[in-house]
Symmetry: C2
Subunit: 197 residues, 2 copies
Amino acid sequence: MPRSRSITRARIVEAAYSLFYRNGFARVSMDEIAAGSGVTKRTLYAHYDSKDSLLADVLENYHQLALARIETWARRLAPHDPGSIDKLFSDLAVWSGRSRWAGAGFTRLAMELADLPGHPARKIARRHKAAVEARLAKAFGSVQAGAEMMLLIEGALTLLLIHGSGRYADIATVAAKKLMHHLPPATSQSVPSGRGF
Amino acid sequence: MPRSRSITRARIVEAAYSLFYRNGFARVSMDEIAAGSGVTKRTLYAHYDSKDSLLADVLENYHQLALARIETWARRLAPHDPGSIDKLFSDLAVWSGRSRWAGAGFTRLAMELADLPGHPARKIARRHKAAVEARLAKAFGSVQAGAEMMLLIEGALTLLLIHGSGRYADIATVAAKKLMHHLPPATSQSVPSGRGF
């Protein structure tokens, strides 16, 4: 792809991402995306023939960025280290406390497209959540613990959004620590603390 | 309100409820709601001056219905009774396995309106979730346990929707039972098993 073309494409993807995240997928029009990325509708359609195909690109891009961010915090997680649980949920509380925070992007999108399980965006959301869960399972050295942590994270993000109160991060922290007590004792299966993987 | 007027209103609320639940709030038009409830747009607007005011009525109605349903299953919950946890999450799995199931209505709506924390629908969603959580706290005889159960339920419903797999109901069941081990032993604070409240 020529460089100017790929720069335009990146600009469109970035503008579309903020508009979708801020207002939801259904409420954003191709007109607004063209305006937001400073291109004509003719140029926009030369890159993407539909809002759906643009969304697929936006999500693929966001999936990669989000995985990199998740790797950063997953490295700090360690089974039998309650401090790493504190850090995980306090980071979520800080994130959710930002102005204009509008929930977890993939979860919100899956809910918005709840009636369309075959939509390409739903598939990327599934793949993304599965990747996060696998990373948690690795960090805790247990498939069940990874899935439990995923339940608490999703539940906390939903209730943080609904109630706009950091309380649910505290509740999730306490619950996660109790669940950690049930992890098998540190063995070769667990991941040593303080090491990258 | 004259009887025929209230029958029309109920018909509109019911049609709007299924359309919103099936397709999300943003994607449904007043035209479709008029068609779905078999009234003219003129009649529809004589009852509701906007989609937002109609949504408020739909949610108030749904809140009452959902609370009645929740009371039914909350009555069966008892601290220190693992069977009641099995039943709770297997009911969620059955519900989520229905064709055209599209997630928890209030959660989905809060996500769809994530950028509008002051929207009347967001307030009703908050009130509804708080009522469910209070009922769970009563059933388990503990505020923390009620909130933890809420986290697991919200997390399970989200992941059941995203992955379309009953696995997350099983994961939540195992997690909820572990958390139950941490409940204070049955005392006057707990709610006796098998009794209505």
